[in-house]
């Protein structure tokens, strides 16, 4: 049977990807930031997931305002790197896992989560930067990755509670898949940041710390956070944190925090990263 072994949360700031692509990781600005991924890279090399489910948001690359799916699951064989205005990042073409992806879509839809099924989709920095941070610059990503794109640009995004419950439905789907597969779920985006308008640059370290501290042990506190609180206190783009809750929902109630990294600033944002290992499953 397939199972979820662990969760990785990470922001997906484009500058971090650019630093890797352009060989700038040794520069003073980036050194403390990338130091926080040394453990993570070793950990994932040992963990060896068979499949990753990567929750992220598309930034007007695959979806425009013509069509705005709240939850879109990538069921294709592969996903190319998107051109976001300065040419596509030179990262491997991502191999998907259509069989598991379709299984999740069917299971989740019958579980009353109406996912949009996507068979053609380019993936932008929201998706590729977390993979680069965890795997560096390999010829190919070491395992298939299933993209789950969440709308967090057009207001309102799905609630934290909805995201958390979708995570649970995904876990249920994974656990009913007959092949033996070890699955790691990534929740990306955040932490507090605001890119737009006169208030651009907002960072709320206290909010972020509260979020990181409660994420493992008390996710019920976080799922209750309303949109307005995210917008006001964590910045208009800080609302991306609802995507972390999908990952959290896909894990068991009991988890162990293996690693935490928090760094300000990365570009215009507060960068957060957690690795959680699944504890024993509740009965």
């Amino acid at each position: 049977m397939a199972y979820v072994s662990a969760g990785v949360a990470t922001s997906h700031v484009p500058l971090a990807g650019a630093a890797i692509d352009k060989g700038m990781t040794e520069e003073e600005y980036f050194v403390p930031f990338f130091k926080g991924f040394e453990y993570s890279k070793k950990w994932i090399e040992k963990e060896k997931p068979d499949v990753i489910i990567l929750v992220y948001n598309d930034h007007a690359s695959a979806f425009s305002l013509e069509m705005i799916p709240t939850f879109a699951l990538g069921c294709a064989e592969e996903f190319a790197s998107a051109d976001e205005g300065w040419g596509p990042r030179k990262v491997p073409v991502t191999k998907g896992h259509p069989k598991l992806a379709w299984h999740i879509a069917q299971s989740a839809i019958l579980d009353e989560f109406d996912l949009t099924i996507v068979n053609k989709m380019d993936v932008d920095h929201g998706f590729t930067v977390p993979l680069s941070l965890m795997f560096g610059q390999p010829e190919d990503w070491p395992c298939p990755v299933i993209p789950l794109a969440v709308n967090v640009i057009q207001y309102p995004p799905p609630t934290g509670n909805r995201c958390y419950n979708l995570g649970r439905a995904i876990r249920k789907a994974v656990e009913s898949y007959p092949e033996d597969l070890k699955v790691v779920v990534f929740g990306t985006g955040g932490m507090s940041h605001q890119l737009q308008g006169p208030r651009t640059g907002l960072v709320n370290q206290e909010f972020d710390k509260m979020f990181l501290d409660n994420f493992g042990p008390n996710p019920e506190k976080l799922v209750a956070i309303e949109h307005e609180k995210y917008l006001r206190e964590a910045g208009s783009e800080g609302i991306e944190l609802v995507m972390w809750l999908i990952m959290r929902g896909a894990l068991n109630d009991d988890v162990t925090e293996l690693h935490r990294h928090y760094h300000v600033p990365m570009s215009n944002t507060a960068f957060g990263h957690l690795i959680l290992e699944n504890g024993p499953k509740e009965i």
Binding site: L65, W86, Q154, Q196, R199, T200, E206, E233, S236
Partner: protein
């Protein structure tokens, strides 16, 4: 209570912030679709070659044309733009994001960078319109 669908716009008293809601999205649809088109290299070329002619292809208002022409990053947001869309114009121009952030911030680039390096813009005094009105 933002998550109450009957009263969804209480977030309007967050200062310096454009929440990309239905009203905003409808206003900015054509402007954002122009920005979206810039993910294709041939469109970036066409925009660079003749901006006026390129803008003619989209149903823009006069105000939208003006803010695009002036690279008025906050103005684009006021006219319904969303930052993930408008940043595509910055990318097409070769303008670093940081320069666009600083422009929206209303400060020189080094001042904005120093603010970020010292921990970002504090939430204190920046969460309610009344905080800004009393400044």
């Amino acid at each position: 209570m933002t998550n109450n669908p009957q009263n969804p716009r209480t977030y309007n008293d967050i200062p310096g912030t454009f929440v990309f809601d239905a009203q905003h999205s409808r206003k900015g649809y054509h402007l954002n679709m122009l920005m979206m088109s810039l993910i294709k290299p041939e469109n970036r070329e066409a925009m660079k070659a003749d901006e006026e002619a390129y803008m003619d292809k989209f149903k823009l208002t006069e105000a939208q044309r003006r803010v695009i022409k002036n690279r008025d990053w906050n103005g684009m947001l006021e006219e319904g733009g969303n930052v993930y869309y408008t940043l595509k114009l910055a990318a097409a121009d070769g303008t670093p994001y940081e320069a666009a952030y600083a422009a929206m911030s209303g400060t020189p680039r080094d001042v904005h960078r120093d603010m970020m390096l010292s921990g970002g813009r504090s939430p204190e005094g920046n969460m309610y319109l009344s905080d800004w009105e009393n400044k």
